[in-house]
Amino acid sequence: MNRSRNVLLVEDNPYDVELTLRAFEQNNIMNELVVVRDGKEALDYLFGAGAYAGRDLGDAPEVVLLDLKLPKIDGLEVLRRMRADERTRRQPVVVLTSSSEEKDVVSSYNLGANSFVRKPVDFTQFTEAAKQLGLYWLVLNEPPPGG
């Protein structure tokens, strides 16, 4: 139950990762940002498998920022497997993606996403979005007990 209050960022685009780090930094969000580059790595991290074997699963992320378009296993599949597993069933997940195609929004919510945010092209707006996300999910929101 010792949450480290870190944020899991599932994002394959290194520039987007850098921009997200920058936006967090600019908004004084001090939580550690754990970055994984594809869906498989995300699942490995969440379930302590592969490169993350032996990781303390009690140390669940405060929030998962999940891109949908990912190599190997896509974001919706990651979400589906998370919701199918008791350990990550209640894990807050924000879908953070480029698209706002209606089918993506609908599928995400159907699979149990807690929020859906479209990444703005304009960096000013992007920074603002990161700020709002940090404020809401890391400060206001009460996480589920025990991960």
Binding site: Y15, D16, S98, S99, E101, V121, D122, F123
Partner: protein, 487 residues
Amino acid sequence: MKIEAMPAEKAARAGGRPGSEALQRRLAVAFAGALVVVTTLSLTVFETARRALASSRLVAHAHEVLQVMNGVEGTLVTAQSAVRGFVITGDEVYLRDRDSALLSLESGVQRLRDLTADNDSQRRRWQALRDRLDERVALLDRLVVIRQTEGAGRAREFLRSVYPPPPPAKTGRIRAITGEMAREEELQLAGRMREEELASAFAVASGVVLAVLFALMFTLGYLAIRRRVAQTFGLNAALLSRTEEAEAANRELEGFSYSVSHDLRSPLRAIDGFSRMLTEDYGERLDDEGRRRLAVVREGSQRMGRLIDDLLEFSRLGKKPLACSAIDMTALAGEVYRELRTADPEGSPAFDLAPLPKGWGDAAMLRQVLANLLSNALKYVRKDRAPRIEVRGWAEDGRNVYCVKDDGIGFDMAHYDKLFGVFQRLHSAEFPGTGVGLAIVQRIVTRHGGKVWAESKPDEGSSFYFSLPQAAMSGFTDPPAARGGRR
């Protein structure tokens, strides 16, 4: 991207085939003919059956007449034998036999009269028979009286005096009459039978002819229908394959816009974000020109982001099904205007909204039409005076027309053909925009079955009109105000 040309295509494919009217006429003739034939056929069958029944009744009648005549003869013989027995023996028992025989003789004669009432010659014969029988019965009575009063000898003498030959010869005369009657009946019967045979032969012949006709018409009708059905199915198959092609194209396009939405926006975000980081972190080391150029990079990427968004929105509008309801256009226009002013409260425009006719359509889409027109009116303003925006609406020629009029910078009608095109702009970068707004307006209004048009003079202002068909309005009378007008 719907295939709009479908109806024209269909019409062209249908050309060269027998028209629907000719086909309908042919079908009507074939089926009416078949109906007449079937009716005639059943009437003929009915008539034949009726005649057969009548003829069998006649046969039965003739048989009955013959039978009754035989009975009459028989009872007469019985009566005569009884009287003869009485004359010989004087035993009264014979008289009871005679009485019962005479009784049934009388009833037989009456029956015979009823049966032959319909035929004059037979009736005359019956009268003769009746007279003869009465004579005979009177003779028998007299014989009995003589036997009772004067004895057997006198009676026999009397018998001989009346019938020198043996008595049955007398019965022969009666038999002659009954024989005649029977022959008459048989003659009539034979005549009727001949007629009947002729009628049946005719009925059978006409039945066969009519049945053949019916089969012919039925077959022709069936062939006509089958040909048409085959044509229709062929046409449908062609349309279906076109529809499938169109659907495939639509799916491809959907996939395309999906990648546009995903893959084009990511690099743009990188360009914009990293330019911003460069400005923030290294701006001090750049001179003014360096910073200006970076600003241009950012502006370009942001603008491209908006273009992509607008283009996706425009493409989405073509696919999204309309969710129609009755809309209080007055309330919607007021609401949209207030929202636009809240988002950008600069300036002090005059807004004049007259009551508008109700509209029938997709609330979210019509909201966007009003938003695009009103934001244009608020955007393309003259710098030297506060803008004035009028919104009007009226009904004409089965449609409702709505107008957004401004007194802004206007445009040259020479460029009118570009006005509603995608990415077409009539004004410079002085007025921001992607050139998709009016294209969206046109697409939405067209999908609602309406039209968009505009009038303008440079520096005097523009009027943008759109119409919505009233036909769609029939079916509701007094809808709740501004249904769907709220988010």
